[in-house]
Symmetry: C2
DNA sequence: GTTCCTGCAAAAGCTTTGCAGAAGA
DNA sequence: TCTTCTGCAAAGCTTTTGCAGGAAC
């Protein structure tokens, strides 16, 4: 559980002025493990009685990304999704149910992932997306086949 | 150099009916190493006298993607880009100049990249994006500092 | 002759922007 | 009080869709 004040503190550390909306958006991203869309964030916060607009959600998310608090996941063919920045991890997208899951990435081996062709490049961010079918949907498929 | 007929053959193999527009789009993707946007493809082909519309470009690209001929790169905050499907490779995006470059990925090590957490998943596609600054822009920066 | 592909224009998202009023320090 | 954040609505872009005419086989 992350307290209101610790979120405010986090914003301050990142050089972002506090506001009710900003705190609530960041709090939601911390608590929701679902890589939400902007619209989802807007919907959930509104539902809980917060006075906020979709435009503010977008502006806030862009600000957070700029300051390095979150990541924007842009998945082909649909809205962007937003992910709280923690340790480095990959994203698995299920083509069947659309859910997005984190998976661990071994950073050491990712350094060796590419050959020397990148030695002259300054790499700042690594995004790794895998797509396929999640265990749950594999089970469902099996059920159908019977 | 890829001939008109060999492109037609390729379409046929993928179960796609031929048309002038489809052949030209695929040909352009083969020859252009630049990961073009749909609009760029439309512009270039029109300029060369082909009668084609932007809607057809999009429809064609989506069809190609469905049939596994190309990949859609969705880069946050801008239009999609399209990449002819060859061997597995990663994409480096320069945050300075926006250019997109391929880099080699060692597939064997990418298998070991993630821990066992993915062992129950059926992985079909792997997309790897690195972001940072390309050698050319690093040089430019150095020039400015002097 | 049939099938289905294309161009056009309009529609449909998602995201950003401008501005006046409100909140925060 | 002064700054700047927010909500609203409108605009901006990219992408998709419907339909009639035309190309492909």
């Amino acid at each position: 559980m992350v307290s209101f004040d610790s979120i405010r503190e986090k914003l301050k550390e990142s050089g972002i002025a506090s506001s009710v909306q900003r705190v609530k958006v960041l709090e939601y991203l911390h608590e929701c493990k679902c890589h939400p869309t902007a619209d989802r964030i807007y919907g959930e916060l509104s539902k809980n009685g917060l006075d906020i607009s979709l435009a503010t959600v977008y502006n806030t998310l862009n600000l957070f990304e700029e300051k390095g608090l979150i990541r924007i996941l842009s998945l082909e063919g649909s809205e962007n999704r937003y992910d709280i920045m923690t340790h480095d991890h990959g994203h698995f997208i299920c083509e069947e149910c659309g859910s997005i899951m984190n998976f661990e990435v071994n950073l050491n081996s990712s350094v060796y992932l590419c050959d020397e062709s990148l030695s002259d490049f300054k790499v700042k961010k690594r995004d790794i997306y895998f797509r396929g079918i999640c265990p749950e949907c594999i089970e469902k498929e099996k059920g159908k086949e019977k």
